[in-house]
Amino acid sequence: MIGFELSGVTKTYGETTVLDHIDLSIEPGEFLVLLGRSGCGKSTLLELMAGLRTTSTGTIHLGQERITGPHQKIGVVFQDSSLYPWRTVARNVELGLEMAGTPKAKRRELARAQLDLVGLPEVAQQYPHQLSGGMRQRVGIARALALQPEVLLMDEPFGAVDHLTRLQLQRDLLHLWSTERRTIVFVTHDVTEALLLADRIVLLAPGPGHIAATWRISQERPREPDALRTVHAEIHEHLGVPQTVKGIG
């Protein structure tokens, strides 16, 4: 297991500062949720950690290694799964292994194992357009897991699926995490989702993006949103949309 260390991470585009001096330490095996409204820089921060963008100033370390580009220990799950429509599900899952030069037979085997893990062994030979949104997102997770990363970075992975599917995916993700205890950094703008999943919630606020507050959630999982309504109300207060305690749910 391995954790992240961000120090003084700043990202500017021309004159605009998107992220300003982010200091954050993510423990090995931690489930950390980056919460914030759109435009607060949370996706940018995730992409910096993924090595898909470079910091303007400041450093990001994964364990002892400085992140300067995509890293084999980091798996990324994207917002809309972004499967390749011209590849079968199995070959989508194999993509990273192909890039790494894994032999074909080994690829097949690993891809099948990952599809089993996300509960989709039967769709291997189908094409993405034949799957539901929730299934596609599972395949996206399987694709990220195929290279056996030690860290999973997830960018609003359940944002585009319907409510019930989302609840199921959240439950399955927690199960996956509890069996392997990978470090997970999960971006969302959904307060309830953050409360259900996180060990720690880091709230990012815009203008320019900075850490506004953090909460440690130590309650046992699976959690009942109702039991967390005090924190829920507090987070809403910070987001600038206060709500009465009664109005939750």
Binding site: A50, G51, L52, P70, H71, Q72, I74, G75, V76, F78, Q79, D80, S82, Y84, P85, W86, R87, T88, L95, G96, E98, M99, A100, Y127, H129, Q130, R143, A144, L147
Partner: protein, 263 residues
């Protein structure tokens, strides 16, 4: 009448056949009755006889067909390979694309038929002449579509590949090229038809053989039924070649796509 209560397929088919044979029968009567001269409009039965004779090998039909197909296949394949290669290069190197864009646009704007006489002067009447014409007729749209296809590659798909540590070559081979294929294929289909037009037109303007040459001969001799027979057979060749590409597209290259009815 609601949209769902359409006439059954059999009724449609019968209706269409009645219209087709009705029109043909009227033509036949007009010509046979001497109302319209067979010089202007051939009797459909005469056209049928001519077509049958051509298909039986009359007027060196198969030799001519071979000549036209050779011109088409060589010119088209060279245009496809060169067009995709140049399109990829320009699509992948934005600086090169920006530099060459006005030149390409200018060359593409030249109506290709205008250079056929000059090409005759430079290359004579033979195969080389037709290959260049076919090439010019279909090369530029293939280049353009390839560039467009490359540029349409989804940012998200590229991001996925980069997160999986793809090399530059892998990015091109596993993401950019597959993304561009549907757009390239669209050009290959339309340009196959354009290539046939190029071959036939080149033959009609200046040639010693080929289907266009045969058509020209028939017209010059006022053999209207034979000219019609040539037109029908040339159309068939064109439809067949586009169908071959269509099938290749549907069964091999784009089999991952959701099936959509084109009708």
């Amino acid at each position: 009448m609601s949209i769902s209560s359409r006439p059954s397929r059999i009724v449609l088919l019968v209706g269409r056949l009645v219209l087709l044979f009705g029109v043909l029968a009227i033509c036949e009567l007009l010509v046979r009755g001497g109302i319209v001269s067979s010089l202007y409009l051939p009797a459909p039965t005469d056209v049928l006889v001519q077509a049958w004779q051509l298909l039986g090998g009359g007027s060196g039909f198969y030799m001519n067909l071979g000549v036209t197909l050779r011109e088409f296949v060589i010119g088209y394949l060279v245009a496809v390979v060169a067009g995709i290669a140049l399109g990829l290069l320009l699509g992948l190197v934005p600086l090169a694309e920006a530099f060459f864009r006005p030149f390409l646009a200018a060359l593409m704007a030249v109506p290709k038929v205008t250079v056929i006489p000059l090409l005759t002067l430079w290359l004579g009447l033979g195969l080389g002449h037709k290959i260049v014409i076919v090439f010019l007729f279909c090369f530029f749209p293939i280049v353009y579509n390839t560039i467009a296809g490359v540029q349409q590659t989804s940012e998200d798909h590229l991001k996925v590949a980069r997160s999986l540590r793809a090399s530059r070559v892998q990015l091109i081979g596993k993401v950019i090229l597959p993304s561009a294929i549907p757009t390239i294929l669209a050009a290959l289909r339309t340009e196959a038809a354009a290539a046939i037009v190029g071959a036939i037109f080149g033959e009609m303007v200046a040639s010693k053989a080929g289907l266009g040459n045969g058509l020209n001969e028939a017209t010059t001799l006022y053999d209207t039924p034979k000219a019609f027979a040539f037109i029908i057979l040339i159309t068939l060749v064109s439809v067949l070649s586009v169908t071959v590409i269509d099938q290749l597209e549907r069964r091999v290259l784009l089999k991952w796509r959701p099936r959509r009815s084109l009708r």
